[in-house]
């Protein structure tokens, strides 16, 4: 249902520009690898676990290869070559030995290379097969337990302790959450390794680990069956280990992942090149695993003004869409983000929000949009906060948003309490049930305030996208275009983990991801439920 009468010419132009702006970045991603991409390959190959200090074996192995022969050929050849030659049963054995300095790596040539490549390919196929099976498992559960209609209610748990998180997540599901996100500990995104095991000591969030993923997914499977409604699990594929976390998500049947093309750059000061290279791999995995990604445009509005910077959100969405599609994600997997962050003190703030939300809805009609609640203007006045969250919920309903992150009245104070979440769910439940199909009575006056504002934001977006095409995206990022934060292309953390691929670079996982239709194994049907919007 279109209400804004957007000019299709302008919309097409915006997409063409996004494609142009993304092209050089995609080219860079196709010609580089990173330590985490290589580690992800090993994880898909079945290597898990860590030494007694908690440093994972994948890190040991990749570091050892890098030290001895560099990474420009990828780890596949040297690792499977070593496995052929050395007396280790599996990657784990090899990694332990490598950690002790007991393994000598080389880049095999000729038939040795062929043989190592063959083993690596088999391992990759097996790993991808496991991801495929997880996707099939989800499809089965969705059929059997039932898939809730959109909009989905998205809730956060953030105790830092997986064993406190689990009952809170189950409680949230029982009270109506369709999606549960386990927020990560503050420090994790800068760690260049993925912690291991079940963890209980995060700060303002719980570490993303394979075991935590497994525990939570299994707890949610239980509650899904109890409720007759599949409850989705979300985590964060971002930070220095984005490719590995995406891989673990695929292996443990997570359902959605925060995976933005620029979040780590802007909000964690991670090197832009590292981010874009890691991102392409992660998104290919997400595509294959039937995972919906959520992008992070909402974050810009916490550091920039939501009115002044509205067009930067749209520009970023167009870029995220382009990068996503290039990596194989379907429209139904593009949970593009935006947010209700306009200063409530300014006149007509709610109508401005409606204009922005409806614009995004019409620009991306098939994407399961993720709509974020107010955070920046939430204060210690919890009553005012509860009110603002209600209007956020209302805007979501009036503009047909798909995934609604539930706002907490205590956003300005602390990470959510059990009762905050419960009250927040009562809030959204009231708004949803009371308003029903109110969206059909929301008809912005032709050429009125809402329509004009939407057009203005779209036209500012096209202008900005043109400038980005001229100057390159890396320059735009360096100039502080997004979130008024300047991030030069060679600054930030993790650049030393970026390696240009040699001609003979081999990564059989990437070969599969680059060459196959990610949705073919699932019958071509992307997992996420059809949107319930009209």
């Amino acid at each position: 249902m279109t209400k804004l009468d957007l000019d299709p010419q302008v919309v097409r132009k915006a997409r063409r520009l996004a494609e142009r702006a993304a092209a050089p970045i995609i080219e860079m991603a196709r010609t580089h690898t990173t330590v985490s991409v290589e580690r992800a390959q090993l994880r898909l190959g079945g290597l898990s676990g860590a030494d007694s200090d908690g440093l994972p074996w994948v890190n040991h192995l990749v570091d050892a290869v890098r030290d001895q022969v560099g990474l420009e050929h990828g780890v596949a050849l040297p690792v499977w070559d070593a496995l052929r030659n050395e007396p280790y049963d599996d990657l784990a054995g090899l990694a332990r030995a490598a950690a002790l300095g007991a393994v000598t790596f080389r880049i095999p040539k000729g038939s040795d290379a062929d043989a190592a490549a063959e083993l690596a390919r088999r391992s990759a196929r097996e790993g991808i097969g496991r991801v495929d099976r997880r996707r099939a498992e989800r499809d089965t559960m969705l059929r059997e337990v039932g898939d809730p209609a959109q909009p989905w209610i998205y809730l956060i748990v953030a105790t830092g302790d997986i064993y406190e998180d689990i009952p809170q997540a189950q409680a949230a599901a029982r009270e109506g959450a369709d999606v549960v996100a386990v927020i990560r500990s503050t420090g994790q995104s800068l760690l260049d390794f993925v912690p291991e095991g079940a963890t209980r000591e995060g700060y303002a969030g719980t570490y993303a680990t394979q075991e935590n993923f497994r525990l939570m997914r299994s707890a949610l499977d239980d509650v899904s069956k109890e409720l007759g409604r599949y409850v989705r699990l979300t985590n964060y594929a971002s930070g220095l280990c984005m490719p590995e976390i995406a891989t673990l998500a695929g292996l443990e049947r997570l359902d959605m992942m925060l995976n933005d093309c620029m979040y780590g750059i802007i909000f964690r000061d991670i090197n832009p090149r590292r981010t874009f290279i890691d991102q392409r791999f992660s998104r290919q995995i997400h595509a294959r695993a039937g995972i919906v990604i959520n992008t992070g445009e909402d974050n810009y509005l916490t550091t920039a003004d939501a009115v002044d910077a509205a067009h930067t959100v749209v520009v970023s969405q167009l870029l995220n869409e382009r990068f996503g599609k290039e990596a194989g994600l379907t429209d139904r997997q593009l949970g593009l983000g935006h947010a209700f962050e306009i200063n409530p003190a300014i006149p007509d703030s709610f109508r401005l929000e409606l204009a922005h939300a409806q614009l995004v809805r019409e620009l991306f009609p098939d994407a399961p949009l993720k709509y974020m609640p107010p955070t920046k203007h939430m204060t210690g006045n919890v009553f005012a906060g509860y009110l603002l969250d209600a209007f956020f919920n209302l805007a979501g309903i009036m503009t047909g948003q798909s995934i609604i992150l539930i706002g907490m009245m205590t956003e300005g104070i602390h990470t959510p309490w059990l009762s905050d979440r419960d009250l927040a769910l009562e809030n959204v439940r009231y708004v949803r049930e009371a308003c029903g199909a109110l969206a059909e009575d929301f008809v912005p006056r032709p050429d009125g305030f809402v329509v004009q504002r939407a057009r203005q934001v779209l036209s500012e977006s096209v202008d900005l996208m043109e400038r980005i095409c001229d100057d390159t995206l890396l320059t735009a990022i360096a100039d502080g275009t997004f979130g008024v934060t300047r991030r030069p292309a060679d600054g930030g953390k993790g650049l030393d983990g970026v390696i240009e691929r040699a001609d003979a670079y081999l990564n059989p996982v990437i070969d599969i991801l680059d060459s196959e239709d990610p949705h073919a194994a699932a019958g071509g049907v992307p997992t996420p439920a059809g949107s319930a919007r009209e």
């Binding site: 953030a158 302790d161 204060t379 210690g380 104070i413 309490w417």
Partner: protein, 271 residues
């Protein structure tokens, strides 16, 4: 017909700790939220006063997360903090709950017919200047409450609903005239403790009017008070036989009448 459960509350798991504290997001964090107004101008000094109050209430640490001047002489505060009190949950006697079983409507009528051999007479009213009749009507009128019919619906109960704004004198007079077995009064307005004053006054008047009474049903009517905000007082304090609070259903009252006025009745099918 299957009788409803007479016991109180949900069954409790064995693993509830005996000493508990409030829960924010972690066991034992003891976090609570408060809001209040202080009659002083906003500012740092007012905030300190708010924190002092929080301190006296046992909050440590406490944070003023919001303060808002309301005109020149008042400030509104929202405070969050950790209380240093422990609640001895194990030491709370599991409340007796309903000390009598719920009864089917037919059972109530049967009890009255059998034991009393006449209709049981109840007189109800909103006393004082209170005009909130919805609550007492919910108990007395056929229409009832929460899907249960009111007392009027019983063949064996004669209901005289005097309506609103009835004086205590009128009520006593009517109760005597009708030979009431039970008197039911409702009080909804609580400002300046109107509900407590009025109910005490009513109880005193009945005790005066029946000086030789031995107890409820023995020389004087059973005295029942109801309303949403009687949770701060006990029957003894008010001088009544029973208080009914928020969400009372007519069936609970009917069963109580049988229990209190026909103590020898043994329900055919106990529950």
């Amino acid at each position: 017909m299957k009788q409803r459960q007479a016991a109180t509350d949900v069954p409790e798991a064995q693993d509830i700790p005996s000493i508990i504290r409030p829960y924010g997001d972690t066991t034992g964090d003891a976090m609570v939220q408060m809001s209040f107004t202080l009659p002083v101008p906003a500012g740092r000094r007012a905030e300190i006063a708010a924190l002092r109050l929080a301190g006296q209430m046992g909050l440590d640490p406490a944070s003023v997360v919001h303060s808002k001047p309301m005109g020149p002489n008042f400030t509104f505060f929202i405070v969050y903090g950790k209380v240093n009190h422990l609640i001895d949950y194990a030491g709370i006697e599991v409340p007796a709950g309903r000390e009598y079983p719920l009864l089917a409507a037919k059972e109530v009528d049967l009890a009255i017919r059998t034991v009393l051999n006449r209709r049981l007479v109840v007189v109800g009213a909103c006393i004082g200047t209170d005009a909130h009749t919805v609550g007492i009507d919910a108990i007395l009128n056929v229409k009832g409450f929460a899907g249960e019919k009111g007392l009027e619906y019983h063949r064996e109960i004669q209901v005289i609903n005097m309506g609103a704004q009835v004086t205590v004198a009128e009520l006593v007079e009517r109760a005597k005239a009708e030979n009431a077995d039970a008197v039911l009064v409702s009080q909804v307005v609580t400002q300046k403790n109107a509900h407590i004053h009025n109910t005490k006054q009513m109880a005193a008047a009945f005790h005066d009017a029946y000086p030789t009474a031995v107890g409820p049903g023995m020389g004087r009517p059973l005295l029942i008070a109801g309303g949403p905000r009687f949770d701060t007082v006990t029957e003894e304090e008010l001088g009544v036989d029973r208080i009914f609070g928020k969400g009372t259903t007519p069936g609970e009252v009917a069963a109580y009448l049988v229990h209190a006025l026909l103590p020898n009745w043994i329900p055919s099918e106990p529950s």
